[in-house]
Symmetry: C2
Subunit: 110 residues, 2 copies
DNA sequence: CTTAGATACATAATTCACTTATGTATTAAT
DNA sequence: ATTAATACATAAGTGAATTATGTATCTAAG
């Protein structure tokens, strides 16, 4: 598990990019996909995820569709065109940040 | 300037590594060195730096010497042996985090 | 069958590292 | 003389996260 401090500020970027790469997904599915991609090192908590999804939806970055699976309700999220722009922005931002950190820490990242 | 959110959790790592690479430094000097290394993209605020330095000193990671420069007082910080271990740990932690993020975001970092 | 663990959503209370604001004082430049 | 840079320090406020709590369904084990 990574230091939770480092993870701060990356949640939105992660959620958006995973949605871009995997298309339509529901909340729980996102947590599992991130767990898998990160080899159990990034565990997104529900208390962080759901408010983040609601915020992105309210901002018009995500759209939702609900589906009934048996008696359960699933809420599927997918990117809007605006959301697609935001993913690129956020990922670029992160890549730039890492380049800068590489210089400051004098380490070869990647 | 980078999104301040991304910077969260990296301050200690930055301070420790810069001190390791540059030896004895005073607070203001650290802010300037980081500004320089980051090409003006990371600007450490005093409200963040001084409490961080005091905390690291209290934990035995840094030791201090004060010097009088004219009528000014400068407080020089340097790593203790414990601090030297911590730098390695923190930098490794960060590098691992970046590797994980590379997988999750499917981007080539570095 | 019933209990535990996984699935699936949601929100409220709390934390804590940071930003912003404020304060003091010296030195250099215009 | 006034502004900007140098140099330290701390208090108040912010906000994205963690932690805790709540509801409910599905599945596997014993």
């Amino acid at each position: 598990m990574h230091s939770p401090e480092l993870l701060k500020g990356t949640l939105q970027t992660i959620v958006l990019k995973v949605l871009k790469d995997n298309g339509r997904m529901y909340g729980y599915e996102i947590t599992q996909r991130v767990k898998e991609l990160s080899d159990d090192r990034i565990l997104i908590t529900e208390g962080a995820l759901y408010p983040a999804l609601h915020k992105l939806e309210a901002e018009g970055m995500l759209k939702t569709e609900t589906e009934n699976i048996g008696k359960r309700v699933r809420k599927y999220y997918s990117l809007t065109p605006q959301g697609r722009s935001l993913v690129k922005e956020r990922v670029n931002e992160f890549v730039e940040f890492i380049k800068t950190m590489g210089n400051v820490l004098q380490v070869n990242l990647g």
